[in-house]
């Protein structure tokens, strides 16, 4: 089990993430255990996924809309959002919508090209779990959360903008 950051602690990850095969087809589903599946798998195999032993999470790619799972959130144990490149910022909006509009209270994890220098913004937008890019040291990255002590804007972490708190 790989180490990752959840709620600003480095912990081990009980979830297995499934990815599409290179040809775009869906991989086999393990019999048991907690799995995070691609949106396409969730949409295609929802009923069978729900009856198998183990919890289910869904991951959205950067172009996939949170609306696609908004109705299903109560069935999920985790939601993940992929950042194919660290500069692809759609996931920040996806996170805010999941938290602020669709009421997701559970674990929201950033996956993919996730780097230390994005953690502050990711966390402001509602991510509380982070699987860093391979090779990044999660322990060292923890310092990034505290680099800025305030924010002007309303966000998931700070529902009131600074001007209402000043």
């Amino acid at each position: 089990m790989a180490a990752f950051i959840r709620d600003r602690k480095v912990v081990s990850d009980p979830w297995l993430r499934l990815e599409r095969n290179d040809d775009g087809s869906l991989p086999p589903v393990p019999r048991a255990g907690d799995i995070i599946v691609p949106l396409a798998m969730w949409q295609a195999q929802r009923d069978s996924l729900l009856v198998r032993p183990g919890r289910i999470g869904v991951w959205l790619d950067s172009h996939e809309a949170p609306e696609a799972i908004a109705e299903d959130l109560r069935l999920l144990g985790v939601v993940a959002v992929n950042f194919p490149k660290s500069g692809d910022g759609r996931g920040y909006t996806t996170a805010r919508l999941l938290r602020e509009r669709y009421g997701w209270k559970g674990e929201l994890r950033a996956i993919g090209d996730v780097l230390r220098d994005q953690l502050f913004f990711l966390s402001s937008c509602g991510f509380n779990a982070f699987v860093l890019r391979a090779g990044e040291d999660p322990r060292e990255a923890l310092a990034a959360f505290g680099e800025l002590s305030e924010a002007y804007q309303a966000s998931v972490e700070r529902p009131e903008p600074l001007f209402r708190r000043r």
């Binding site: 692809d88 804007q153 001007f163």
Partner: protein
């Protein structure tokens, strides 16, 4: 000036520390060049042709004497003794060392300055009218709204990795001096029938390789919704803007692809969720920001200064300067003054450390210790008593800052071009100089009258060539530098009946040596065809079209410019 409170200061200081650590990790090899690039860019650091280039934000172009002296100090200590004022109300240092940048930023932070978001795919420095707060046609003081936006956009967690850079301009007066139709978002203050303040929201304008005028998506946005509506626009853009092709990633491409009407529907649907939410502005916040601005202490003066009027009548050179570089002020007996950074022979927008210090002194002596940077790359003293204009003129002349050319051809806008910028296809500085030399005769220049000549070294259009009455664009043809010329552009509703417009290319491009001659021929056509001195170059282009100009430059009875040049040289 907006004066930081403790939180504003702390955030800037924390960014310096954060950037220092990012630089340290890069130099130690813990951050790759690819991973460091977006981090340094969003802090204004480019790697340029000769050295890194650091772009310092001058939020909405407003600057204090103290800040300008610090910029001069930075130029001396870490650069080569000068800086370049850009068209986006920023200051660029062309020769800093990458490892010195954290120290430079720490120095800037001591005078409430920074380089935050001066580059990168995020919301950039907010720009506005350089006569904000003093113009007679003011609707709101746009500085206040710009500062509200500065704070809102600084480290915005959701919009820090947009598809592409994002530029917002605010105009607070009746006339548009902020080019609001040429920004990703343009906000133009308006009052409704009941006298309530709001903003016309214009989206999707811009220059670059796909020049396009913005579309009004809301005629009247009541001011409390200022931030939530902009947030809705940015959210739609962040979700749906293209990310597969850097040249198609600006919001203008999205607006065009969806159509402005559909784009508006998307924004309104998103806004329905955000409207009246916590980011809705309050009167007390607007007043708080207003109060944190220093306010000029105006004397009560009876009206126009008699001595000033007399000097205008008796001193022709002074009157010529005042006619171009002195601007009307909302307070009786006061004026705003442009100090020109467009002296022939000096790259447009460049200022030496000595000039910066001297201008800081002038601002203190004549204009309450504050000044502005205009998008035309000049410096403005906004609150000068008319009675002191003569003394100011003398001082400005001694510093080489009194070229009486505001609004005239030689006040040309130019980006740094191929001498400095690694993106450029062609040099701009020698072209600017050659044109300035060709039109150096003041009488002739004044006879030609108002003419915006804008020059960019590449399609990125930092020199705003699309909206020059005459625009010049450097292009690369098989490794050689050529220049394409367009006419009929206009930056915005700077006078009634003259809206923002994009220039039309007149034809194939020219070699560098031919450019001044081509400009001269365009001017000849104008002088022959204008119906009065009131009709400007651009008005004639709009009235008679591009053809007569084309004809003169390329064909008919006249020889092609190159051959004419050669025959002159031979003669």
């Amino acid at each position: 000036m907006y004066r930081y409170d403790e939180i504003d200061q702390k955030l800037v200081d924390e960014r310096v520390a954060q950037y220092r650590d990012q630089t340290r990790r890069f130099l130690a090899g813990a951050l790759s060049e690819d991973d460091f690039r977006p981090l340094r860019l969003r802090n204004g650091l480019y790697i340029q042709r000769h050295a890194p280039m650091l772009r310092v934000a001058i939020p909405y172009g407003l600057l204090s004497s103290r800040q300008l002296r610090t910029l001069a100090h930075v130029a001396r200590k870490w650069d080569r003794g000068y800086g370049h004022f850009s068209t986006r109300q920023n200051l660029q240092f062309n020769w800093p060392k990458l490892e010195d940048v954290p120290d430079i930023l720490a120095e800037l932070a001591t005078v409430q300055m920074h380089a935050i978001q001066t580059s990168g795919n995020c919301v950039r420095n907010i720009t506005t009218d350089h006569l904000a707060g003093v113009a007679r046609d003011e609707i709101v003081d746009s500085f206040v709204w710009c500062e509200l936006l500065r704070q809102w956009s600084t480290f915005h967690p959701e919009f820090s990795y947009l598809p592409r850079k994002f530029k917002i301009a605010v105009n607070g007066a009746a006339v548009d001096r902020a080019a609001t139709y040429l920004h990703d978002i343009g906000l133009h203050a308006v009052r409704d029938a009941r006298g309530e303040t709001g903003f016309r929201v214009i989206v999707g304008g811009g220059m670059g390789r796909t020049p396009i005028l913005g579309h009004v998506i809301r005629e009247f946005l009541p001011w409390p919704h200022f931030l939530t509506y902009i947030e809705a626009v940015l959210r739609v853009y962040n979700r749906y803007g293209r990310r597969d092709n850097i040249h198609k990633a600006r919001i203008k491409i999205l607006v065009k692809a969806l159509t402005p009407a559909r784009f508006r529907e998307e924004v309104e649907a998103e806004w329905a969720h955000l409207k009246d939410g916590p980011s809705t502005l309050t009167g007390s916040e607007v007043r708080r920001v207003e109060r944190r601005f220093t306010r000029p202490a105006y004397e009560r003066l009876p009206g126009d200064d008699a001595g000033y009027a007399a000097r205008l009548a008796s001193d022709r050179a002074f009157a010529a300067w005042a006619g171009r570089n002195v601007h009307a002020h909302k307070m009786p007996g006061y004026a705003a003054v442009t100090l020109s950074l467009k002296k022939t022979g000096v790259p447009p927008g460049d200022a030496t450390a000595g000039q910066m210090d001297a201008v800081a002194d002038l601002a203190e002596r004549y204009s309450q210790g504050e000044l502005r940077l205009s998008h035309e790359q000049n410096l403005i003293l906004a609150d000068v008593r008319q009675a002191e204009l003569r003394a100011l003129w003398d001082d400005a002349k001694a510093l080489g800052l009194a070229t009486p050319n505001v609004g005239l051809l030689t006040n040309l806008i130019a980006c740094p071009g191929g001498d400095f910028c690694s993106l450029a296809n062609a040099k701009t500085i020698p072209v600017a100089q050659a044109i300035q030399e060709r039109f150096d005769r003041l009488d002739y220049l004044h006879d030609i009258g108002e003419l915006d000549l804008n020059l960019s070294g590449c399609m990125n259009s930092c020199g705003h060539h699309h909206v020059g009455h005459i625009g010049i664009l450097g292009v690369d043809k098989n490794g050689e530098e050529w220049y394409q010329i367009s006419i009929g552009g206009n930056q915005g509703l700077t006078r009634p009946g003259a809206p923002a417009a994009l220039g039309k290319v007149i034809g194939p491009s020219f070699a560098r040596a031919d450019v001044p001659g081509v400009i001269e021929r365009l001017i000849e056509v104008y002088l022959e065809r204008r119906d009065s001195e009131e009709e400007r170059f651009v008005d004639v282009v709009w009235r008679i079209g591009v053809e007569p100009f084309k004809e003169r430059v390329y064909g008919g009875v006249h020889q092609r410019p190159e051959s004419r040049q050669r025959s002159l040289a031979a003669a």
